[in-house]
Symmetry: C2
Amino acid sequence: MTNTIPSSDLIARFAAIVGASDALTQAADITPYLIESRGLYKGTAPLVLKPGSVAEVSQILKLASETGAAIVPQGGNTGHVAGQIPRAGAADIVLSLERLNRIRDIDPVGNVIVADAGCILADIQKAAEEHNRLFPLSLGSEGSCRIGGNLSTNAGGTAVLAYGNMRQLCLGLEVVLPTGEIWDGLRRLKKDNTGYDLRDLFIGAEGTLGVITGAVLKLFPQPLGHQVAFAGVQSVADALVLFDKASSLCGPALTGFELMPRLGVEFTARHIPGVRDPMDTVHAWYVLIDISTSDSAESAERMMQALLETEISSGLVENAVVATSEAQRKSLWHMRESMSPAQKPEGGSIKHDVSVPVSSIPAFMAEADAAVMKAIPGARICSFGHMGDGNIHYNISQPVGADKDQFIARWREMNAIVHGIVLRYNGSISAEHGIGQLKRDELADVRSPIEIDLMLRIKHAFDPAGIMNPDKVLKVR
Amino acid sequence: MTNTIPSSDLIARFAAIVGASDALTQAADITPYLIESRGLYKGTAPLVLKPGSVAEVSQILKLASETGAAIVPQGGNTGHVAGQIPRAGAADIVLSLERLNRIRDIDPVGNVIVADAGCILADIQKAAEEHNRLFPLSLGSEGSCRIGGNLSTNAGGTAVLAYGNMRQLCLGLEVVLPTGEIWDGLRRLKKDNTGYDLRDLFIGAEGTLGVITGAVLKLFPQPLGHQVAFAGVQSVADALVLFDKASSLCGPALTGFELMPRLGVEFTARHIPGVRDPMDTVHAWYVLIDISTSDSAESAERMMQALLETEISSGLVENAVVATSEAQRKSLWHMRESMSPAQKPEGGSIKHDVSVPVSSIPAFMAEADAAVMKAIPGARICSFGHMGDGNIHYNISQPVGADKDQFIARWREMNAIVHGIVLRYNGSISAEHGIGQLKRDELADVRSPIEIDLMLRIKHAFDPAGIMNPDKVLKVR
């Protein structure tokens, strides 16, 4: 399916919907919307539209459906798979949700917040906090990513273990369909079995089925107790045993269980200002354990103490430190969150965002490590992530002194090796980042033809004119 | 769309797939599959097929798609909205999953169980327990309902507050599509953002998009602490305040919060053997509070004690009893679960399964009570349910001495009154039972045309031949 290349007349008609000052046509104004953070993709666009209301979004999509112009919705432009970036060489129009950034309502008794899609995640967290509530979605880019993007990619982050990803955190949606019709699904219900689950279809669809313009999100009580520990263990297998112990002991009070290799700790201590190794002993692997309790500060302390005392005596935990202040807790989390940026100064890094069944993590990592080291002797594997979710950011830094470009040129080859092993463990090649442009062709390789066909049927049924974020997730035939 | 009436030749071809002994054609054998538990619907069918393998299910659907014969999947036949019952006067073929009842695998470290769709819910609970794990889905019919039906209706029950409904409890599915193709989505991943959410589309679709044949379900650690209390409060508004306090104190350890009226306690004490009012004081409303903790038995005790001591002193709780043994805990839950059957001996009962935003429960109930009492003076309202989920089973027993049939004849009229108020509170006319046949025409009234249209587009895209459970959920145009 091909889209219309908008004439100057059509561009003027689109611009008139939002007004001249919110319709960007100059290269200098448009450029920031065309490049994603890693610089892997650069798109082209004749126009960026910044609607100020849901009605304007509706008019834009209506005009696009009538004329066949392609629309690429964009939030904070923090996505890692270029789903938010217009196609290179095409004439897609970028639809930025940034001006739709109002918190529409907050109900602390009902534990819901209703927000425009363009609200920045940190602003939603803050609004919840002001009402003594928690909105648990938390990720590195929370200061600039927007909730519509979080919804469209079914974002995960560091609190998935206890609170789930965006699908679990969202009760209702407002979506503008490709025709311009508005689906008002802004329901605040915890239980509602009335027909097909449209909400979860739009969540994670990466803007290919419609434009999310508003959402009802769940809030939670602010926990009273919060404990964070950093523990050294001998192996990934031991980390898994420790996870099983922690999760049996703490149940849903275990709010984070993050795995890090020695190399990652060294990288962060070396490159990230203010980060230092909190222990004077050296360990092959580390875990960050986060426990939150609602009833009292003491109960989190009791749990953490019980866990560490038992597992230090048993020898499973080699050494551990427990943060004793909020500043220390933040500092331990800061080390974990710096794992990815700390790789940059070490040269090229080939990245994977994979998941496997939790119980398969040790076997998967051993097999992947062997295959990668065989392919690139001297490669430095910095694999870390949300162990409790089975989600590993399996990243490979270049050998010391190697040529960066030559190393990065092997991205697809390394993907094939790592993803091949992931698939043998029935894992996922995109645990939390989505498909976008980066993994689109690979998706067709790793999913069965019938699964791809079902997705295409949904795409055609919802967007027959093919105007919504074309060629993202799926190549429409 | 109309379906083929199967000729005797076609019936023989279907029967040959499963073998004569698992193809029922005699009225006496077929009848139990045609009537649902409340006796509101009785269907007709020339044939009941009991396939013994996924391959046989596939062959059945392939033949149905080729010939246009209608297929009605059925699990334990416990559904409340007749989704599992063939249409009256048509010639739908019932496809019973009862022979597909094998637990395929259990992985206690990975916290998953893989089960055939025909497994009885209680058997799955038991298998989990044998591995010291919990499968939390729990509902009245758990001894006979089958997991495929629980999935197809996105079942809820009494543990939704902490563990969610079936969508939250399922990681992966195996589905036979109307064409007979098999979608293997049996993934064990907690995080997987690779394309559209097909899983949640089949869950809750009530067998109209395909036949679920297997599922990967989540398991949880068995809690060590378990406390159940029964507390008397003055009003629904006070019960809501108590819920807010309990949920802030206990967080995810609050595993149940159920509301019951005085009338319901009287009905159960009067009619259900072994049930008696556990308090010697009389209260307008009661709540059952269930707290589960993973770390120790004591922490559940501490929470329950802290909650009740504080709220008895504050006057919010008028009186309370705490169960001190497993037998007492079961007995309190038995009273709650007997609310529905205890209405039967009191004559006709017009039932609603609705939800509203949690914070709107008191206002909704006051308004509904006034409207119902105005329409039927002397009606006895027995509204109870999962307060923490906003889900109320708003049931109306006939006035004492009234004619049962005349009362039941006002079912639709009462529905219109109650559901009208539910909709003003942006609630749901089916919180957990689904749509089936019972609420199909009402769905089209209460949802926007665009929402119904999106559902129809999905139906047509997945089942173009119109063979899957026709005229359930949606009337296909």
